[in-house]
Amino acid sequence: MPQTITGAEIVVRCLAEEKVDFVFGYPGGAVLNIYDEIFKQDKFKHVLVRHEQAAVHAADAYSRSSQRIGVCLVTSGPGVTNAVTGIATAYMDSIPMVIISGQVPTHAIGQDAFQECDTVGITRPCVKHNFLVKDVKELASTIKKAFYIASTGRPGPVLVDIPKDVTANTCKFEYPKEISMRSYNPAGKGHSGQIKKAVQLLLDAKRPMIYSGGGVILNDASAELTALVRHLGAPVTNTLMGLGAYPATDSLYLGMPGMHGTFEANQAMQDCDVLLAVGARFDDRVIGNPGHFFRDGRKIIHIDIDPSSISKRVKVDVPIVGYVKDVLVEMLAQIQAHEKKPDAAALKNWWAKIKDWQGKNCMAFKPAAAGGKIKPQAVVQALWKATGGDAFVTSDVGQHQMWAAQYYPFTKPRRWLNSGGLGTMGVGIPYAMGAQLANPDATVACITGEGSVQMCIQELSTCKQYHIPMKILNLNNRSLGMVRQWQEFFYGNRYAESYMNALPDFVKLAEAYGHVGMKIEKPGDVEGAIREAIALKDRLVFMDFITDETENVFPMIPGGKGLTEMILAEDL
């Protein structure tokens, strides 16, 4: 008969069973029993962050950059409420994660106990699912369910709230090998009949277009997508969440679509006769106003694991519910077996039209004038050169995020980590921590701005403790650039609270945390500084680039407008 063990030990044993190698967390009263068991084990490493938000972001990035499930551990009350931003961020981008939170003892729940909050209630709208475990006998099976739910179907964060007495109570430990839930059966293979219809449409298309999103990356379907695109010879665009799913340096790639996407990608989205959407959700930053996006006669095929993503904002003609990888495999097999081949003559005309749009050269920007300030876009390009396009790049949120997405052509999936859905400022440093721990030998760069970076700047301390040698590129324009850009365009240059007037000396700040700081002010020094920083392999380097504050992100579709209503830099 197996021995009984405590709930705290069960938690640790479950994580070991799941082959977790990092837990990001912060201790506190309600999780002390669990931390005591962590102290006694050597199956996984615990990473002590400086704020719970960063624990969740780091676990999230660990997941994004490694195909594995990120795990974090926080205490009750403020531990959980601090984690909420991180959880909501992961939820919006469908990142598989398990969050374990401590709770006050079961007998104290509802008594307004010290560090008590209704964790399940607070997190309910921003998790895929959550659990409150009231009986130690249900602890192991609940954790198993959490990992299962987080990683299957449309992935997402799952929270397990564990009262302190449950971590002290004992029972026999048995980790279930399999789990089945009558109320949770995520869709599997796509419907063959629907795939057949889609194949027919794609082969009949005169102007096909492929629009792929984060779902392709989450389901590790880049190779399948690439094979399909090449077989069809069709143009392809990757959304902000899908960058790297199709190699951006390839000639079939049109750049990113949407608000700050390329002119050619947006025109092609609008003007195609068959649009194949793969693991993308037609969100407002991609298609703008759905009314404008509607085009008579254009057929839309939509592959998604989540039925509720289909026909949510845009009516589609051929919905296919299933894992994108499986669907793409079957789709390509059907296409290859089909007697009909893609229409070469029509494609030639279609590409001629696209070449015209590409002729606009919409990503061009004026290089820095002699004696002028550094152009932020040029910093991103220099990083691409210095890293051979092969770094893991994280960003925060704002202008620098768009420049990173626009000027660092990603050629591999899981290399670009950003908060696309929730748009959370502050993710940059903790994302780079998670990515670096998951990929210890890789170059990890955090492209950020002086606004965002200060939202989780305390994590420079965590980086010191765990020797995380990330390279931070701070595009410092002394203002909340994206806010300022909107105020310039839409609010008559009234720059309400978008100016940063009391910035720290970032070089000294980095040094205070034990890192290397650099301040770069001349355009000619940019690439050299980045190369120097990368050469410092085992050090975190904070590069503070003093950039041209007048630069804006182009092209741009103003909010509420359609894809063909872009403002290009040359229009101004």
């Binding site: 699912h129 109320s183 509720s308």
Partner: protein, 163 residues
């Protein structure tokens, strides 16, 4: 358009708030909601009356299905169905109102469950329109108190919602 959705879900703490939270978070309407366990106590069955365009109802159904604890969702308005709601109304029953209230309750096939010398408490079952009609036929000043359960629905004939 009005829709009546039947939802079979795990009888677990918090399942109800997930459903209700979904409606408020996504801006859907709940006109009425009734819920209790089924013959299998591990499951609850919920009837939600809502309204919205076909697109909205499609999203509501998909979003409900996405909740981990929801087992099945059926839109009863897609086929023949029966719906019933229970109402208890306390009315003033003094003087000339007393006989009139008794007659009205009889016409609507209501039952008087409780009597005082000044009031009747009437139990009425039917579809929601019938209950509305009963209330409309009484002078507002005569009604002392109303409580309604919200509709419960079930498919007609062989149409069954089961695991």
């Amino acid at each position: 358009m009005r829709h009546i959705l039947s939802v079979l879900l795990e009888n677990e703490a918090g399942a109800l708030s997930r459903v209700v939270g979904l409606f408020s978070a996504r801006g859907y309407n709940i006109d009425s909601l009734s819920v209790a366990t089924t013959e299998d106590i591990t499951m609850s069955r919920m009837t939600i009356v809502t309204h919205g365009s076909d697109d909205v109802i499609e999203q509501i159904t998909k979003q409900l299905n996405k909740l981990i604890e929801v087992i099945k969702v059926v839109d009863l308005t897609d086929g023949n169905h029966i719906e019933r709601e229970l109402m208890l109304v306390k009315v003033r029953a003094a003087g000339k109102d007393r006989d009139e209230m008794k007659r009205l309750a009889d016409i609507f096939r209501g039952r008087i469950l409780d009597v005082t010398d000044k009031s009747y408490t009437v139990e009425l079952t039917g579809n929601s329109d019938k209950l509305d009609a009963f209330i409309a036929s009484i002078e507002p000043g005569v009604i002392l108190e109303t409580v309604r359960t919200g509709a419960s629905g079930i498919g007609r004939g062989e149409r069954i919602l089961k695991v």
